[in-house]
Protein backbone atom coordinates (compact mmCIF):
# COMPACT_ATOMS: atom_id res chain seq x y z
CA UNK A 1 0.00 0.00 0.00
CA UNK A 2 2.78 2.41 0.99
CA UNK A 3 6.27 2.20 -0.38
CA UNK A 4 9.20 4.56 -0.05
CA UNK A 5 12.19 4.25 -2.34
CA UNK A 6 15.43 6.23 -2.14
CA UNK A 7 13.70 9.15 -0.46
CA UNK A 8 15.74 12.26 0.18
CA UNK A 9 14.50 15.56 1.57
CA UNK A 10 16.79 18.56 1.85
CA UNK A 11 16.17 21.94 3.42
CA UNK A 12 18.50 24.84 2.75
CA UNK A 13 20.87 22.53 0.89
CA UNK A 14 21.22 20.20 3.87
CA UNK A 15 19.83 16.72 3.95
CA UNK A 16 17.13 16.53 6.58
CA UNK A 17 15.87 13.06 5.84
CA UNK A 18 16.92 10.04 3.88
CA UNK A 19 14.96 6.79 3.66
CA UNK A 20 16.36 4.20 1.21
CA UNK A 21 13.44 1.81 1.40
CA UNK A 22 10.31 1.27 3.41
CA UNK A 23 7.08 -0.55 2.69
CA UNK A 24 3.81 -0.97 4.49
CA UNK A 25 1.03 -3.34 3.47
CA UNK A 26 -2.66 -2.42 3.80
CA UNK A 27 -3.79 -2.75 7.40
CA UNK A 28 -0.22 -2.67 8.73
CA UNK A 29 0.88 0.04 11.12
CA UNK A 30 4.21 1.75 11.57
CA UNK A 31 6.14 3.59 14.20
CA UNK A 32 8.68 6.24 13.21
CA UNK A 33 11.11 6.47 16.09
CA UNK A 34 13.91 8.90 16.56
CA UNK A 35 15.15 11.79 18.63
CA UNK A 36 14.16 15.41 18.06
CA UNK A 37 15.51 16.70 14.77
CA UNK A 38 15.65 13.25 13.19
CA UNK A 39 13.08 14.24 10.56
CA UNK A 40 10.06 12.33 11.91
CA UNK A 41 7.63 15.22 11.38
CA UNK A 42 9.20 15.91 8.00
CA UNK A 43 8.56 12.32 6.96
CA UNK A 44 4.93 12.63 8.09
CA UNK A 45 4.62 15.84 6.06
CA UNK A 46 6.06 14.01 3.05
CA UNK A 47 3.63 11.13 3.56
CA UNK A 48 0.77 13.64 3.77
CA UNK A 49 1.93 15.33 0.54
CA UNK A 50 2.42 18.55 2.47
CA UNK A 51 6.06 18.49 1.35
CA UNK A 52 7.51 17.03 -1.83
CA UNK A 53 10.78 15.08 -1.81
CA UNK A 54 13.72 16.32 -3.88
CA UNK A 55 14.59 12.74 -4.78
CA UNK A 56 13.06 9.33 -4.48
CA UNK A 57 9.50 8.14 -4.57
CA UNK A 58 6.65 7.79 -2.12
CA UNK A 59 3.91 5.62 -3.51
CA UNK A 60 0.49 5.08 -1.95
CA UNK A 61 -1.62 2.46 -3.69
CA UNK A 62 0.59 2.93 -6.73
CA UNK A 63 0.25 6.71 -6.83
CA UNK A 64 3.50 8.69 -6.68
CA UNK A 65 2.36 11.35 -4.23
CA UNK A 66 5.63 13.27 -4.52
CA UNK A 67 4.83 13.97 -8.15
CA UNK A 68 1.41 15.46 -7.48
CA UNK A 69 0.81 19.12 -8.29
CA UNK A 70 -0.01 21.27 -5.22
CA UNK A 71 -3.69 21.20 -6.14
CA UNK A 72 -3.70 17.44 -6.63
CA UNK A 73 -1.78 17.01 -3.38
CA UNK A 74 -4.40 19.04 -1.46
CA UNK A 75 -7.20 16.97 -2.97
CA UNK A 76 -5.42 13.68 -2.29
CA UNK A 77 -4.64 14.68 1.30
CA UNK A 78 -8.24 15.73 1.92
CA UNK A 79 -9.53 12.38 0.72
CA UNK A 80 -6.98 9.89 1.94
CA UNK A 81 -5.06 11.30 4.91
CA UNK A 82 -6.07 11.76 8.52
CA UNK A 83 -3.54 13.94 10.27
CA UNK A 84 -3.03 14.50 13.97
CA UNK A 85 -0.51 17.27 14.49
CA UNK A 86 1.69 17.47 17.54
CA UNK A 87 -0.33 20.35 18.89
CA UNK A 88 -3.93 19.33 18.56
CA UNK A 89 -5.05 22.69 17.15
CA UNK A 90 -8.78 22.33 17.30
CA UNK A 91 -10.36 25.49 15.89
CA UNK A 92 -11.23 27.51 18.99
CA UNK A 93 -14.09 29.28 17.20
CA UNK A 94 -15.92 26.05 16.33
CA UNK A 95 -17.85 23.61 18.48
CA UNK A 96 -16.60 20.07 19.03
CA UNK A 97 -19.01 18.74 16.40
CA UNK A 98 -18.03 21.35 13.81
CA UNK A 99 -14.36 20.59 14.46
CA UNK A 100 -15.05 16.94 13.67
CA UNK A 101 -16.94 17.93 10.50
CA UNK A 102 -14.21 20.37 9.42
CA UNK A 103 -12.43 17.96 7.01
CA UNK A 104 -15.62 17.94 4.96
CA UNK A 105 -15.36 21.69 4.42
CA UNK A 106 -11.60 21.61 3.85
CA UNK A 107 -11.66 18.79 1.32
CA UNK A 108 -14.83 19.95 -0.39
CA UNK A 109 -16.49 16.60 0.32
CA UNK A 110 -19.05 17.17 3.07
CA UNK A 111 -18.46 14.87 6.01
CA UNK A 112 -21.25 12.62 7.22
CA UNK A 113 -22.86 14.26 10.30
CA UNK A 114 -24.20 10.88 11.45
CA UNK A 115 -20.68 9.49 11.42
CA UNK A 116 -19.45 12.51 13.38
CA UNK A 117 -22.10 11.87 16.02
CA UNK A 118 -21.29 8.16 16.09
CA UNK A 119 -17.58 8.88 16.52
CA UNK A 120 -18.21 11.38 19.30
CA UNK A 121 -20.49 8.89 20.98
CA UNK A 122 -17.91 6.15 20.72
CA UNK A 123 -15.21 8.44 22.09
CA UNK A 124 -17.37 9.35 25.07
CA UNK A 125 -17.97 12.88 23.82
CA UNK A 126 -21.65 12.68 22.88
CA UNK A 127 -22.58 15.19 25.57
CA UNK A 128 -19.86 17.57 24.43
CA UNK A 129 -20.85 17.93 20.79
CA UNK A 130 -21.87 21.57 21.18
CA UNK A 131 -19.10 22.43 23.65
CA UNK A 132 -16.28 24.70 22.61
CA UNK A 133 -12.70 23.38 22.68
CA UNK A 134 -11.71 25.54 25.66
CA UNK A 135 -14.39 23.76 27.71
CA UNK A 136 -12.69 20.38 27.23
CA UNK A 137 -9.84 18.67 29.07
CA UNK A 138 -6.61 17.86 27.23
CA UNK A 139 -7.66 14.22 26.83
CA UNK A 140 -11.06 15.18 25.47
CA UNK A 141 -9.46 17.53 22.96
CA UNK A 142 -7.18 14.72 21.81
CA UNK A 143 -10.17 12.44 21.27
CA UNK A 144 -11.91 15.16 19.24
CA UNK A 145 -8.77 15.47 17.11
CA UNK A 146 -8.81 11.70 16.56
CA UNK A 147 -12.46 11.84 15.50
CA UNK A 148 -11.59 14.66 13.09
CA UNK A 149 -8.68 12.66 11.67
CA UNK A 150 -10.75 9.57 10.90
CA UNK A 151 -14.11 11.11 9.89
CA UNK A 152 -13.34 10.83 6.17
CA UNK A 153 -12.15 7.18 6.51
CA UNK A 154 -8.57 7.92 5.42
CA UNK A 155 -6.11 5.35 4.02
CA UNK A 156 -3.31 6.83 6.09
CA UNK A 157 -3.72 7.98 9.65
CA UNK A 158 -0.68 10.03 10.57
CA UNK A 159 -0.03 11.07 14.16
CA UNK A 160 2.80 13.30 15.29
CA UNK A 161 3.93 12.67 18.90
CA UNK A 162 0.45 11.76 20.17
CA UNK A 163 1.76 10.43 23.47
CA UNK A 164 4.19 13.18 24.37
CA UNK A 165 3.89 14.13 28.05
CA UNK A 166 1.38 11.36 28.79
CA UNK A 167 1.82 8.87 31.60
CA UNK A 168 2.07 5.16 30.81
CA UNK A 169 -1.64 4.44 31.20
CA UNK A 170 -2.65 7.38 29.07
CA UNK A 171 -0.01 6.45 26.50
CA UNK A 172 -1.47 2.95 26.26
CA UNK A 173 -5.01 4.32 26.11
CA UNK A 174 -4.34 6.81 23.32
CA UNK A 175 -2.37 4.33 21.25
CA UNK A 176 -5.10 1.72 21.60
CA UNK A 177 -7.69 4.30 20.60
CA UNK A 178 -5.70 5.27 17.51
CA UNK A 179 -5.17 1.63 16.53
CA UNK A 180 -8.85 0.81 17.00
CA UNK A 181 -10.04 3.75 14.92
CA UNK A 182 -7.42 3.14 12.26
CA UNK A 183 -8.66 -0.44 11.98
CA UNK A 184 -12.32 0.65 11.95
CA UNK A 185 -11.58 3.15 9.20
CA UNK A 186 -9.42 0.71 7.26
CA UNK A 187 -6.42 3.00 7.64
CA UNK A 188 -2.75 2.31 8.20
CA UNK A 189 -1.63 4.15 11.31
CA UNK A 190 1.80 5.75 11.24
CA UNK A 191 2.97 7.36 14.43
CA UNK A 192 6.04 9.60 14.61
CA UNK A 193 7.45 9.70 18.10
CA UNK A 194 10.55 9.71 20.25
CA UNK A 195 8.61 7.67 22.82
CA UNK A 196 10.03 4.13 22.95
CA UNK A 197 7.05 2.99 25.05
CA UNK A 198 5.08 2.87 21.82
CA UNK A 199 7.00 -0.21 20.65
CA UNK A 200 5.21 -2.16 23.34
CA UNK A 201 1.96 -0.29 22.81
CA UNK A 202 1.91 -1.12 19.09
CA UNK A 203 2.71 -4.82 18.89
CA UNK A 204 3.25 -5.95 15.33
CA UNK A 205 3.87 -2.46 14.00
CA UNK A 206 6.82 -1.88 11.69
CA UNK A 207 9.39 0.35 13.31
CA UNK A 208 11.41 2.80 11.28
CA UNK A 209 14.22 4.31 13.30
CA UNK A 210 15.47 7.66 12.15
CA UNK A 211 18.89 8.76 13.37
CA UNK A 212 19.45 12.18 14.88
CA UNK A 213 21.62 13.34 12.00
CA UNK A 214 22.17 12.34 8.44
CA UNK A 215 22.55 8.65 8.10
CA UNK A 216 20.75 5.58 7.05
CA UNK A 217 17.77 4.58 9.13
CA UNK A 218 17.44 0.96 10.03
CA UNK A 219 14.25 -1.02 10.07
CA UNK A 220 13.54 -3.30 13.02
Amino acid sequence: MLSITDLTYRRGGQSVLSVPAFALARGEHALLLGPSGAGKSTLLHLLAAILSPQAGRISVDGLDIGALTPREADRWRGRHVGYLPQQLSLLASLSVRDNVLLPGYASGQPADPARADALLNELGLAGKAQAMPHQLSGGQRQRVAIARAVINRPRLLLADEPTASLDDAACQGVTALLLRHAQQSGASLIIASHDARLIAAMPGALVLRLPAREGLPCAA
Partner: protein, 401 residues
Protein backbone atom coordinates in the same frame (compact mmCIF):
# COMPACT_ATOMS: atom_id res chain seq x y z
CA UNK B 1 -28.39 21.48 11.01
CA UNK B 2 -25.97 24.10 9.76
CA UNK B 3 -23.45 23.29 7.09
CA UNK B 4 -19.89 24.45 7.33
CA UNK B 5 -18.95 26.90 4.63
CA UNK B 6 -16.89 30.06 4.26
CA UNK B 7 -19.67 32.20 5.71
CA UNK B 8 -20.38 30.07 8.78
CA UNK B 9 -16.64 29.69 9.46
CA UNK B 10 -16.01 33.41 9.00
CA UNK B 11 -18.96 34.25 11.26
CA UNK B 12 -17.66 31.81 13.89
CA UNK B 13 -14.23 33.43 13.73
CA UNK B 14 -15.76 36.92 14.06
CA UNK B 15 -17.87 35.79 17.00
CA UNK B 16 -14.79 34.29 18.60
CA UNK B 17 -13.09 37.72 18.50
CA UNK B 18 -16.12 39.54 19.85
CA UNK B 19 -14.50 42.75 21.05
CA UNK B 20 -12.32 43.30 18.03
CA UNK B 21 -15.19 42.44 15.65
CA UNK B 22 -17.62 44.71 17.49
CA UNK B 23 -15.19 47.64 17.45
CA UNK B 24 -14.49 47.26 13.75
CA UNK B 25 -18.17 46.84 13.02
CA UNK B 26 -18.95 50.05 14.92
CA UNK B 27 -16.16 51.98 13.24
CA UNK B 28 -17.39 50.94 9.82
CA UNK B 29 -20.98 51.65 10.88
CA UNK B 30 -20.00 55.13 12.04
CA UNK B 31 -18.34 55.98 8.74
CA UNK B 32 -21.22 54.63 6.68
CA UNK B 33 -23.81 56.29 8.94
CA UNK B 34 -22.12 59.65 8.47
CA UNK B 35 -21.91 59.14 4.73
CA UNK B 36 -25.52 57.92 4.50
CA UNK B 37 -26.73 60.87 6.52
CA UNK B 38 -24.94 63.40 4.33
CA UNK B 39 -25.94 61.74 1.07
CA UNK B 40 -29.56 61.20 2.11
CA UNK B 41 -30.07 64.69 3.52
CA UNK B 42 -28.45 66.34 0.48
CA UNK B 43 -30.45 64.21 -1.94
CA UNK B 44 -33.74 64.66 -0.13
CA UNK B 45 -33.26 68.41 0.19
CA UNK B 46 -32.35 68.67 -3.46
CA UNK B 47 -35.26 66.48 -4.56
CA UNK B 48 -37.64 68.46 -2.35
CA UNK B 49 -36.29 71.74 -3.68
CA UNK B 50 -36.66 70.59 -7.27
CA UNK B 51 -40.18 69.34 -6.64
CA UNK B 52 -41.24 72.57 -4.96
CA UNK B 53 -39.79 74.71 -7.73
CA UNK B 54 -40.97 72.49 -10.56
CA UNK B 55 -42.98 74.43 -13.13
CA UNK B 56 -42.09 77.84 -11.67
CA UNK B 57 -39.85 79.58 -14.17
CA UNK B 58 -39.59 82.93 -12.47
CA UNK B 59 -40.62 84.66 -9.27
CA UNK B 60 -41.34 88.38 -9.28
CA UNK B 61 -41.20 90.27 -6.00
CA UNK B 62 -39.86 93.33 -4.27
CA UNK B 63 -36.23 94.26 -4.84
CA UNK B 64 -33.74 92.65 -2.50
CA UNK B 65 -31.91 89.37 -2.42
CA UNK B 66 -33.10 87.10 -5.23
CA UNK B 67 -32.27 84.05 -3.11
CA UNK B 68 -34.39 85.43 -0.27
CA UNK B 69 -37.23 85.98 -2.72
CA UNK B 70 -37.05 82.37 -3.89
CA UNK B 71 -36.70 80.98 -0.35
CA UNK B 72 -39.67 82.98 0.90
CA UNK B 73 -41.99 82.57 -2.09
CA UNK B 74 -41.21 79.06 -3.34
CA UNK B 75 -39.93 77.21 -0.28
CA UNK B 76 -41.59 79.37 2.39
CA UNK B 77 -38.52 79.33 4.64
CA UNK B 78 -37.44 82.95 4.69
CA UNK B 79 -38.89 86.41 5.17
CA UNK B 80 -40.16 88.05 1.98
CA UNK B 81 -38.18 90.90 0.48
CA UNK B 82 -41.25 93.14 0.65
CA UNK B 83 -44.45 93.68 -1.29
CA UNK B 84 -45.21 94.76 -4.83
CA UNK B 85 -48.34 96.39 -6.30
CA UNK B 86 -51.08 93.89 -6.98
CA UNK B 87 -51.52 95.52 -10.37
CA UNK B 88 -48.23 93.95 -11.45
CA UNK B 89 -50.07 90.65 -11.78
CA UNK B 90 -52.35 91.90 -14.52
CA UNK B 91 -49.49 93.68 -16.30
CA UNK B 92 -47.40 90.53 -16.30
CA UNK B 93 -50.28 88.28 -17.31
CA UNK B 94 -50.85 90.51 -20.33
CA UNK B 95 -47.34 89.80 -21.61
CA UNK B 96 -47.44 87.28 -24.47
CA UNK B 97 -44.33 85.53 -23.13
CA UNK B 98 -46.16 84.62 -19.93
CA UNK B 99 -48.36 81.54 -19.68
CA UNK B 100 -49.46 81.81 -16.07
CA UNK B 101 -49.10 84.15 -13.10
CA UNK B 102 -49.98 83.01 -9.59
CA UNK B 103 -50.08 85.70 -6.90
CA UNK B 104 -48.87 85.13 -3.36
CA UNK B 105 -49.83 87.33 -0.41
CA UNK B 106 -47.85 86.39 2.71
CA UNK B 107 -47.55 87.91 6.13
CA UNK B 108 -49.58 85.81 8.56
CA UNK B 109 -49.34 82.37 10.00
CA UNK B 110 -51.11 79.96 12.31
CA UNK B 111 -49.13 77.84 14.79
CA UNK B 112 -46.05 78.42 12.66
CA UNK B 113 -47.72 77.37 9.39
CA UNK B 114 -47.82 80.13 6.82
CA UNK B 115 -51.12 81.47 5.55
CA UNK B 116 -50.74 81.99 1.83
CA UNK B 117 -53.16 84.24 -0.03
CA UNK B 118 -53.29 83.02 -3.62
CA UNK B 119 -55.73 81.52 -6.13
CA UNK B 120 -56.78 77.90 -6.77
CA UNK B 121 -54.13 77.65 -9.52
CA UNK B 122 -51.52 77.51 -6.76
CA UNK B 123 -53.13 74.41 -5.25
CA UNK B 124 -53.50 72.85 -8.69
CA UNK B 125 -49.87 73.63 -9.51
CA UNK B 126 -48.75 71.25 -6.74
CA UNK B 127 -51.39 68.67 -7.59
CA UNK B 128 -53.40 69.50 -4.47
CA UNK B 129 -56.76 67.79 -4.07
CA UNK B 130 -59.24 68.05 -1.24
CA UNK B 131 -59.06 65.03 1.05
CA UNK B 132 -62.00 66.33 3.05
CA UNK B 133 -64.21 69.37 2.37
CA UNK B 134 -63.68 71.62 -0.63
CA UNK B 135 -61.15 74.13 -1.95
CA UNK B 136 -61.45 77.71 -0.72
CA UNK B 137 -63.84 79.96 -2.64
CA UNK B 138 -65.60 82.54 -0.53
CA UNK B 139 -64.13 85.21 1.73
CA UNK B 140 -62.07 84.02 4.72
CA UNK B 141 -62.21 80.40 3.63
CA UNK B 142 -59.01 78.34 3.94
CA UNK B 143 -57.82 74.89 3.06
CA UNK B 144 -55.02 73.30 5.04
CA UNK B 145 -52.14 71.33 3.63
CA UNK B 146 -52.00 67.74 4.91
CA UNK B 147 -49.26 68.33 7.45
CA UNK B 148 -50.60 71.68 8.62
CA UNK B 149 -53.97 70.02 9.25
CA UNK B 150 -52.41 67.05 11.05
CA UNK B 151 -50.31 69.20 13.38
CA UNK B 152 -52.86 71.92 14.09
CA UNK B 153 -55.72 69.43 14.30
CA UNK B 154 -58.00 71.74 12.29
CA UNK B 155 -60.70 70.23 10.13
CA UNK B 156 -63.52 71.56 7.94
CA UNK B 157 -65.96 73.54 10.03
CA UNK B 158 -63.30 74.82 12.45
CA UNK B 159 -62.20 78.42 12.56
CA UNK B 160 -59.04 80.14 13.76
CA UNK B 161 -57.40 83.54 13.85
CA UNK B 162 -54.16 84.03 12.04
CA UNK B 163 -51.13 85.56 13.77
CA UNK B 164 -49.24 88.46 12.36
CA UNK B 165 -45.83 87.44 11.13
CA UNK B 166 -44.47 84.22 9.80
CA UNK B 167 -43.53 82.57 13.08
CA UNK B 168 -45.78 81.46 15.93
CA UNK B 169 -46.51 83.97 18.70
CA UNK B 170 -47.39 87.04 16.68
CA UNK B 171 -50.32 89.31 17.32
CA UNK B 172 -53.59 87.51 16.54
CA UNK B 173 -56.10 88.86 14.04
CA UNK B 174 -59.09 87.87 16.20
CA UNK B 175 -61.32 90.32 14.36
CA UNK B 176 -61.15 88.27 11.17
CA UNK B 177 -61.13 84.52 11.80
CA UNK B 178 -60.61 82.09 8.97
CA UNK B 179 -63.06 79.26 8.28
CA UNK B 180 -61.58 75.88 7.41
CA UNK B 181 -63.46 74.48 4.42
CA UNK B 182 -61.10 71.71 3.38
CA UNK B 183 -57.98 69.66 4.05
CA UNK B 184 -55.69 68.67 1.18
CA UNK B 185 -54.27 65.26 0.44
CA UNK B 186 -50.49 64.94 1.01
CA UNK B 187 -48.55 66.01 -2.08
CA UNK B 188 -44.98 65.64 -0.84
CA UNK B 189 -44.43 69.31 -1.65
CA UNK B 190 -44.34 72.59 0.22
CA UNK B 191 -48.13 72.75 -0.13
CA UNK B 192 -48.45 70.16 2.67
CA UNK B 193 -47.06 72.71 5.10
CA UNK B 194 -49.20 75.69 4.09
CA UNK B 195 -52.62 77.14 4.88
CA UNK B 196 -54.06 78.42 1.63
CA UNK B 197 -56.70 81.09 1.14
CA UNK B 198 -57.60 83.73 -1.41
CA UNK B 199 -55.54 86.89 -1.77
CA UNK B 200 -58.74 88.84 -1.02
CA UNK B 201 -59.01 87.14 2.38
CA UNK B 202 -55.49 88.21 3.34
CA UNK B 203 -56.31 91.76 2.28
CA UNK B 204 -59.56 91.61 4.26
CA UNK B 205 -57.72 90.60 7.46
CA UNK B 206 -55.45 93.62 7.20
CA UNK B 207 -58.02 96.07 5.80
CA UNK B 208 -60.34 95.43 8.76
CA UNK B 209 -57.65 95.31 11.44
CA UNK B 210 -58.92 97.66 14.25
CA UNK B 211 -55.29 98.47 15.15
CA UNK B 212 -54.79 99.85 11.70
CA UNK B 213 -58.12 101.69 11.22
CA UNK B 214 -57.83 104.31 8.58
CA UNK B 215 -54.97 102.63 6.86
CA UNK B 216 -57.06 100.22 4.83
CA UNK B 217 -55.77 100.07 1.32
CA UNK B 218 -57.92 100.92 -1.63
CA UNK B 219 -58.27 98.39 -4.43
CA UNK B 220 -55.63 100.16 -6.45
CA UNK B 221 -53.21 100.23 -3.47
CA UNK B 222 -53.44 96.53 -2.63
CA UNK B 223 -50.19 94.64 -2.67
CA UNK B 224 -49.03 91.09 -3.06
CA UNK B 225 -45.76 89.55 -1.88
CA UNK B 226 -44.72 87.77 -5.03
CA UNK B 227 -45.87 86.45 -8.37
CA UNK B 228 -45.02 82.93 -9.53
CA UNK B 229 -44.59 82.99 -13.28
CA UNK B 230 -44.62 80.22 -15.88
CA UNK B 231 -43.21 81.13 -19.27
CA UNK B 232 -45.16 80.66 -22.46
CA UNK B 233 -41.96 80.30 -24.45
CA UNK B 234 -38.31 79.52 -23.66
CA UNK B 235 -37.52 82.91 -25.18
CA UNK B 236 -39.05 84.51 -22.10
CA UNK B 237 -36.08 83.37 -20.01
CA UNK B 238 -33.87 85.72 -21.98
CA UNK B 239 -35.94 88.89 -22.10
CA UNK B 240 -38.51 88.77 -19.30
CA UNK B 241 -36.23 88.87 -16.21
CA UNK B 242 -34.23 91.71 -17.76
CA UNK B 243 -37.40 93.69 -18.50
CA UNK B 244 -38.73 93.19 -14.95
CA UNK B 245 -35.45 94.00 -13.25
CA UNK B 246 -35.31 97.26 -15.15
CA UNK B 247 -38.45 98.39 -13.34
CA UNK B 248 -37.83 100.32 -10.15
CA UNK B 249 -39.90 98.30 -7.65
CA UNK B 250 -39.72 94.80 -9.08
CA UNK B 251 -37.10 92.09 -9.26
CA UNK B 252 -37.22 88.77 -11.06
CA UNK B 253 -35.51 85.69 -9.70
CA UNK B 254 -35.24 82.29 -11.32
CA UNK B 255 -35.70 79.36 -8.91
CA UNK B 256 -33.53 76.98 -10.93
CA UNK B 257 -30.64 79.43 -10.92
CA UNK B 258 -30.96 80.44 -7.27
CA UNK B 259 -31.45 76.84 -6.11
CA UNK B 260 -28.34 75.81 -8.05
CA UNK B 261 -26.39 78.63 -6.37
CA UNK B 262 -27.72 77.60 -2.97
CA UNK B 263 -26.82 73.95 -3.46
CA UNK B 264 -23.39 74.95 -4.69
CA UNK B 265 -22.89 76.82 -1.41
CA UNK B 266 -24.29 73.99 0.66
CA UNK B 267 -22.33 71.55 -1.46
CA UNK B 268 -19.02 72.92 -0.16
CA UNK B 269 -20.07 72.05 3.38
CA UNK B 270 -21.41 68.70 2.27
CA UNK B 271 -18.12 67.98 0.49
CA UNK B 272 -16.20 68.67 3.69
CA UNK B 273 -18.50 66.33 5.62
CA UNK B 274 -18.19 63.74 2.87
CA UNK B 275 -14.42 63.96 3.09
CA UNK B 276 -14.61 63.46 6.86
CA UNK B 277 -16.89 60.46 6.39
CA UNK B 278 -14.51 59.12 3.75
CA UNK B 279 -11.68 59.52 6.27
CA UNK B 280 -13.66 57.59 8.88
CA UNK B 281 -14.28 54.83 6.32
CA UNK B 282 -10.57 54.71 5.52
CA UNK B 283 -9.73 54.50 9.24
CA UNK B 284 -12.33 51.73 9.57
CA UNK B 285 -10.64 49.89 6.71
CA UNK B 286 -7.19 50.30 8.29
CA UNK B 287 -8.47 49.20 11.67
CA UNK B 288 -10.03 46.15 10.04
CA UNK B 289 -6.76 45.37 8.31
CA UNK B 290 -4.88 45.57 11.62
CA UNK B 291 -7.50 43.40 13.36
CA UNK B 292 -7.57 40.78 10.61
CA UNK B 293 -3.79 40.74 10.38
CA UNK B 294 -3.50 40.35 14.14
CA UNK B 295 -6.14 37.61 14.05
CA UNK B 296 -4.20 35.91 11.27
CA UNK B 297 -1.09 35.76 13.46
CA UNK B 298 -3.17 34.06 16.15
CA UNK B 299 -4.88 31.74 13.71
CA UNK B 300 -1.84 30.56 11.75
CA UNK B 301 -2.12 27.11 13.33
CA UNK B 302 -5.85 26.95 12.51
CA UNK B 303 -5.15 27.79 8.90
CA UNK B 304 -2.32 25.26 8.70
CA UNK B 305 -4.66 22.65 10.13
CA UNK B 306 -7.22 23.47 7.47
CA UNK B 307 -4.50 22.92 4.88
CA UNK B 308 -3.54 19.55 6.39
CA UNK B 309 -7.21 18.59 6.13
CA UNK B 310 -7.03 19.20 2.39
CA UNK B 311 -8.09 22.83 2.07
CA UNK B 312 -6.39 24.41 -0.96
CA UNK B 313 -4.82 27.89 -0.53
CA UNK B 314 -7.80 29.36 -2.36
CA UNK B 315 -10.13 28.21 0.44
CA UNK B 316 -8.08 30.12 3.01
CA UNK B 317 -8.04 33.20 0.78
CA UNK B 318 -11.82 33.05 0.40
CA UNK B 319 -12.25 32.50 4.13
CA UNK B 320 -10.28 35.62 5.08
CA UNK B 321 -11.92 37.73 2.36
CA UNK B 322 -15.35 36.55 3.51
CA UNK B 323 -14.47 37.62 7.03
CA UNK B 324 -13.56 41.12 5.83
CA UNK B 325 -16.62 41.29 3.63
CA UNK B 326 -19.00 40.21 6.39
CA UNK B 327 -17.50 42.69 8.80
CA UNK B 328 -17.74 45.56 6.34
CA UNK B 329 -21.20 44.68 5.06
CA UNK B 330 -22.49 44.20 8.61
CA UNK B 331 -21.04 47.57 9.54
CA UNK B 332 -22.42 49.13 6.37
CA UNK B 333 -25.92 47.82 7.04
CA UNK B 334 -25.83 49.01 10.63
CA UNK B 335 -24.42 52.36 9.51
CA UNK B 336 -27.02 52.71 6.80
CA UNK B 337 -29.80 52.11 9.31
CA UNK B 338 -28.22 54.55 11.77
CA UNK B 339 -27.74 57.13 9.03
CA UNK B 340 -31.38 56.96 8.02
CA UNK B 341 -32.49 57.01 11.64
CA UNK B 342 -30.40 60.20 11.92
CA UNK B 343 -32.16 61.68 8.89
CA UNK B 344 -35.50 60.85 10.49
CA UNK B 345 -34.41 62.42 13.76
CA UNK B 346 -33.25 65.58 12.00
CA UNK B 347 -36.53 65.73 10.09
CA UNK B 348 -38.43 65.34 13.36
CA UNK B 349 -36.36 68.00 15.16
CA UNK B 350 -36.62 70.43 12.26
CA UNK B 351 -40.35 69.90 11.91
CA UNK B 352 -40.98 72.13 14.90
CA UNK B 353 -38.98 74.98 13.37
CA UNK B 354 -38.81 74.60 9.66
CA UNK B 355 -40.01 71.47 7.98
CA UNK B 356 -37.47 70.36 5.41
CA UNK B 357 -39.53 67.39 4.30
CA UNK B 358 -36.86 64.91 5.48
CA UNK B 359 -38.00 61.34 5.77
CA UNK B 360 -35.99 58.57 7.44
CA UNK B 361 -36.84 55.82 4.98
CA UNK B 362 -36.88 57.64 1.68
CA UNK B 363 -34.06 55.87 -0.17
CA UNK B 364 -32.31 57.86 -2.86
CA UNK B 365 -30.40 56.35 -5.79
CA UNK B 366 -27.30 58.28 -4.71
CA UNK B 367 -26.97 55.91 -1.74
CA UNK B 368 -26.52 52.91 -4.02
CA UNK B 369 -22.73 53.24 -4.08
CA UNK B 370 -22.39 53.04 -0.28
CA UNK B 371 -22.69 49.26 -0.10
CA UNK B 372 -20.18 48.50 -2.88
CA UNK B 373 -17.75 51.02 -1.34
CA UNK B 374 -18.09 49.41 2.10
CA UNK B 375 -17.63 45.97 0.53
CA UNK B 376 -14.55 47.21 -1.32
CA UNK B 377 -13.10 48.65 1.91
CA UNK B 378 -13.68 45.30 3.65
CA UNK B 379 -12.17 43.29 0.81
CA UNK B 380 -9.22 45.64 0.56
CA UNK B 381 -8.62 45.42 4.31
CA UNK B 382 -8.79 41.63 4.17
CA UNK B 383 -6.64 41.31 1.08
CA UNK B 384 -3.22 41.44 2.75
CA UNK B 385 -4.09 38.95 5.53
CA UNK B 386 -5.85 36.78 2.93
CA UNK B 387 -2.80 36.69 0.67
CA UNK B 388 -0.62 35.79 3.65
CA UNK B 389 -3.06 33.01 4.52
CA UNK B 390 -2.90 31.85 0.89
CA UNK B 391 0.87 31.58 1.09
CA UNK B 392 1.03 29.92 4.48
CA UNK B 393 3.84 27.34 4.82
CA UNK B 394 2.04 24.39 6.41
CA UNK B 395 5.10 22.44 7.48
CA UNK B 396 6.84 25.47 9.01
CA UNK B 397 3.68 26.60 10.79
CA UNK B 398 3.00 23.14 12.21
CA UNK B 399 6.65 22.93 13.34
CA UNK B 400 6.39 26.25 15.19
CA UNK B 401 3.11 25.49 16.91
Amino acid sequence: MRRLNAVTLALAALRHQKLSSALNLLLMAFGVALMTFIVAVSAQLEQGALRDADGIDMVVGAKGSPLQLILSSVYHIDIPTGNIPATAQAELAANRLVAQVIPLALGDSYQGYRIVGTNPDYVRHYGGQAATGVLFGGPMQVVLGAEAARVTGKKPGDSFAGSHGLVAGGEQHVHAPYQVVGVLRPTGTVLDRLIVTSVASVWQVHDTDPDHVGTAASASEHEVTALLVRYASPLAAVSLPRWINSQTRLQAAQPAFEAAKLFQLLGVGADVLRAIAGGVLAVAGLSMLVALYHALQERQADLAILRTLGAPPRTLLVLLLTQGLLLSLGGALLGWLLGHAGVGLLGHLMQAQQNLGLSAWRITPSEAWLLPVAAAVGLLAALLPAVRAYRIDIAATLAHH
